[in-house]
Amino acid sequence: MKSRPLLILLMALSLIAAACGSSDDASSDADSGASTESDTGSDSGGDDDAMEEGAHSGLDIDAILATDLANCVAAPSGDPIRVGMAMDFSDVVGFVDIPGSNLVPFVAEKINCNGGINGQPVEVRVAEVGDDAALAAQELLDWGAHFLIGPPFADFALPILQTTEGKVPLFVAASTEPTLADATINSFLVTFDDFGMAGAAAQWAIDEGITRAIVFTEGEGVPYTGVNPDAFIAKFEELGGEIVSVQSYVWAADTDFSAQVNEIAGLSENNEVVFSAALAFQVTALRGQLEGQGLDGLTYIGTDAMDATGIQVEDNNEGIAHTPHTSISAGDRIDTLLAEYEAAKGEALESRGFMALYVDSAFLGIQGILDCGCTDTEGIGAAVSAISGFEGLSGTITYAGTNGIPPKDVPINRITNGEDVLAATIGG
């Protein structure tokens, strides 16, 4: 048949295309995007090395962000600062880790264009975790990473921590998983945890005068999908609210909530807040079915998952509230950075609300290097643990006196007249 050669070609192209997604390529792309590799003998695992002459203890983020890539100063020539990114490109968290691993090398380009950090270039290497996060972490350690930026969920973050033996700072950039934070083994969240996020949602609902709640969960204690509802229930009841109903569902899959909606219809007074850690399309599907039952007076609030999965562009999203990591407004620092990226690279990054966390992870690691005046990873980790009042793109970050979870304010965004706008900020 005439079509056979074409189909063979398509199949071959498909296989080649799939092969192109290997971690090696991801690594080399990021390297080339960030800086030129140099063999200047940076030693991440050795003794403390004195910082270069003239090092200052701060990091001028504004100057870095303001750097025009078309007008660079002389290229930095010192020992490179090596940022290792062990990223999960799967469909589970690829929607944040993929754009995050594109943005950090871009920021490194800006740093290097601005003369580096005290004359030291910043190199970024991305290793896709695939199905072996430990191998990806080892690759980055062998390369000489001074600190790592890791994926948000425990199934990949924990193998990375086992590989580093807790001796290399790990920023789990997009994670709200409280069990991943442990400053004693140099593992840090960059944002609030599930308890902070869901607790803020409960506080907001009470502040709005809502005293009854319907909660959707995957089960008590289930990471993220169960812990967030658990935390919401605890806080809501602590604040005097009443939990009217707890419903189960399958996260990221269910869109037919018939059974739950029928039960809720028999309990609701049409004035409750509906909380879940569900994805945006699930919340709008649920809302549509509840409204189909005449329950049009309910208020909906969810977690960062709604932000990541496009509540801003969903139908029937008016009035829905959520807890993004960064409430982006036109012309602010992260908005400007993302616009510059789009102009430079020709494509817009997705999951915008999460992107500041990846950039902050890189800046926090660099700050740790500056503060300790060393390249010893354990020394960097100790310095990161002592960071206080760091003004990042995602807010103020303090690790001193914590177990690795920064007490950050939680923005509550709400879709109002079709726009995703900041409705409140709940103190961390």
């Binding site: 690829g94 929607f95 869109t255 399309f281």
Partner: protein, 295 residues
């Protein structure tokens, strides 16, 4: 009693979609003995086609036929590119090939389109309801059940009253003998993939209308439901596939509604427990293929 009836109606709506998916799986298994784990890819590809169409400003009136066409073409392409190469291979090879197709399609969308959820509008009537006595019935469920019944009748006519149907049934009963009797095997298999793709497309229309989004793994859940329903019904049996789909849908709704809140999160687990019990007592599923007409 009202609640039970309500659950049964909801389960029937959900189960009808599963039945359509299971039918597609059963048709392919009947002629090839292939448990097609790539069956959900028709919905993945159709989902992105729908997303693209909505980006162009098209409405569901255009998107529905587009989904059907894309699903059929995807199914035929998968056969041509992957399964045609392993015709006559053992069942295990076919199974691995179907896994391979699933992962290649998934990876292509993940790497070259986006890992993010791609949202599009649901039709307004999807969440509308009407009352019959004390029962609230979703318009969507009514449409799904109606379309499923019509589809089953048409498929039944196709299999019973056409030469293609006769050839398909003959190939399902004994492929080699059918070939010796003059049945053109490639045409039959290609036709089976086309029919399977059409059934997946019809199920996909409803699945995507309800979901209002797509991702690289959008086809995974429907594939699992379809394969599971086909297994419950009895692999290779058309009637079994329909029964399996309806049973699975009803079991999910009933259990989610009836299980105590403290263990409601175990709904999926209990469904699988029931399936395991079914296979202990009826290893061949509801309709044992050894005693039933295949396809």
């Amino acid at each position: 009693m009202t609640e039970l009836l309500q659950n049964l109606i909801d389960g029937l709506g959900r189960g009808s979609i599963y039945a359509l998916l299971a039918l597609g799986v059963a048709v392919i298994f009947g002629v090839m003995h292939l448990l097609n784990f790539a069956h959900g890819e028709m919905i993945t590809v159709s989902g992105y086609a729908a997303y693209w169409a909505f980006q162009q400003g098209w409405s569901w009136w255009i998107v529905v036929p587009l989904i059907l066409v894309v699903s059929v073409l995807t199914s035929l392409a998968i056969d041509q590119v992957a399964f045609r190469r392993v015709r006559g291979a053992d069942d295990f090879t076919l199974l691995l090939t179907s896994f391979g197709v699933h992962f290649v399609v998934f990876s292509l969308f993940l790497l070259y389109v986006s890992a993010s959820v791609k949202n599009f509008s649901r039709p307004g009537w999807v969440t509308d309801t009407y009352k019959v006595g004390s029962l609230r019935i979703e318009v969507f469920d009514t449409v799904v059940i109606g379309v499923t019944i019509i589809t089953l009748l048409l498929v039944s006519l196709l299999l019973q009253r056409t030469m293609f149907g006769l050839a398909l049934r003959a190939a399902a009963a004994d492929f080699d003998t059918a070939r010796l009797m003059g049945v053109r095997s490639d045409n039959v298999i290609r036709g089976a993939f086309g029919l399977s793709g059409l059934l997946a497309g019809i199920a996909g229309v409803f699945w995507l209308m309800r979901a209002g989004q797509t991702t690289p793994s959008a086809g995974l859940d429907p594939m699992l439901k379809g394969v599971l329903a086909a297994l419950i019904g009895g692999l290779g049996s058309l009637r079994g596939a329909v029964l399996g789909g309806l049973a699975l849908g009803m079991a999910e709704v009933l259990l989610r509604s009836r299980l105590p809140d403290s263990i409601a999160g175990l709904t999926e687990g209990v469904v699988f427990l029931l399936i395991a019990l079914l296979f202990i007592f009826r290893p061949g599923g509801f309709v044992s293929v050894a005693h039933a007409e295949r396809v």
